[in-house]
Symmetry: C2
Subunit: 327 residues, 2 copies
Amino acid sequence: MVKNYNVLFDEQLKIVEEKLEKIFSDKTPNSLYEPCKYSIIGGGKRLRPLAVLFSNYVFSNTFQNSYNAALAFEILHNFTLVHDDIMDNSHKRRNRLTVHKAYDVNTAILAGDTLYAYSFELLLKDAYNTDFTICNDFTTAIIEVCEGQALDKEFELRHDVTVDEYITMIYKKTAALLVGCFTVGAKIGKANQEQIEAIKDYAKYLGLAFQIQDDYLDTFSDENIFGKKVGLDIVEGKKTFLLLKALELAQGVDKEQLNLLLKNKGTTFENVNNYQNIYKKYNVDRLALDKVEEYIKLANNSIEKLKSAPNFDFLIWFSNLVLQRDK
Amino acid sequence: MVKNYNVLFDEQLKIVEEKLEKIFSDKTPNSLYEPCKYSIIGGGKRLRPLAVLFSNYVFSNTFQNSYNAALAFEILHNFTLVHDDIMDNSHKRRNRLTVHKAYDVNTAILAGDTLYAYSFELLLKDAYNTDFTICNDFTTAIIEVCEGQALDKEFELRHDVTVDEYITMIYKKTAALLVGCFTVGAKIGKANQEQIEAIKDYAKYLGLAFQIQDDYLDTFSDENIFGKKVGLDIVEGKKTFLLLKALELAQGVDKEQLNLLLKNKGTTFENVNNYQNIYKKYNVDRLALDKVEEYIKLANNSIEKLKSAPNFDFLIWFSNLVLQRDK
């Protein structure tokens, strides 16, 4: 029987949302926990906690013993968003003011630190009942995320970033946390060592696919479906897969235009169409989608060995979800 | 035989310094780990790692299995300093530029986050060999520190902070981490539950004594011995034990002068002597020292039950160190 993962996914999402809403509800001082709550209830796809829960489910056929770990990853993720938004001086996230804009920078630094601490507290609860080494996977993930953010900031100052360097950076900044989620879920689900290695690869390729998909959607999605303004990466001069690939391929005046984007650290929304056209001229949009497909294929190949797991087919359903998302 | 704790303490301090120097030496990217190293090799008393090591030693007569935990607490402490210095907009610490002044705010936020993550990684190493519940003590400590910092920032905006509220704040901001250090050390040293409770109380009172001693020294120490300018708390209008106690007791023009300090959020160095005199007039200097002595006595009373521990006398030596310090 093929399970209806759409329904199961939404059910678990609802449970995650309910649990997130209760966190910090009885905590003081308010000056600390209000901004923590503000950060957490701001929505988002909740992909990370769901990855933990379902990675457990794949192997054990239950979500038990992984809810705290799932919340831990979501809270950890929110901590990184709060601090990244300060560093990137972002005003909005998910259609709301960022924490440091809704409150102030000091409050946001401290709220981030507190989210961080609570994420460990939650993780420990499940670690006691299951496998203590999940604490190492958690710590490894967060160190990678910090290194990824450092590389991202370094890249902002450099004009010679290669596509390979970019892949290393997004592995650390985006994929490593997903690797952590799937690894922890699998360990709680009592996967064996070979299975854990397989799912780590799966999560890595999925994370890379996800980020390049993100780059593609930011520049080429349908604004009505995307739900936010298209072309922001171009406006901000962000060194995405598209821009770096275009820099590799473009020549003449096109190359000059792209270099101008680097030099001026961005452009206006009026010029987005111009850059979209350069990307299309060199087939960079297609190359990005090919890369996403390639990574999804690699993800699916990684889990060949997991076919005996009770809910193996979730992993295929999930990678397909990433491949087909349009926002 | 009475042990020479001066020698033993210095020996362990040297080992801690050597280990701290090696941390991050092989890590990249440099943009992330240079500021981490800068923060850690900046000196300081290293009281927290030594508290972990010696709390272990008190019960087990060895420092084994606690070096990673000791370093973890020092690195965690440094993380809090890096972020606190941003929030307090401090330019200098230990006679060097603070991390966000030597680099920039974004770098300091991320370096702090990374120190935080590494502290957990180190702690886990000793947790595997000893007692996993030390992870909870660690997490509890850091949550208290965050709450303490939030209260501290709240108090900056309030004019009606009481001495009792101040004690709650310094418990969280300063004493809680020391409680964590002694608890973790004791657990690694295989102390029993009753012994752990006793040493928690000891650390709590010691931490409170330490902070009030800090307040006293900032205003009343001999500048030549203190090694930095006396009176900075007054200049910055910090709500210390001295100021809050003086506000309780002073009357007439003295009270007006103190209220002026609150209203103007500080004063110039020229006026320090004026405020020192008000404090002395109301015996606030003596009351602070009495409070330090009272807490040291409570600390020493807390450990009555620990007399059978192999190196019980260290605890008395250590509390005496706090009581008699002049810088």
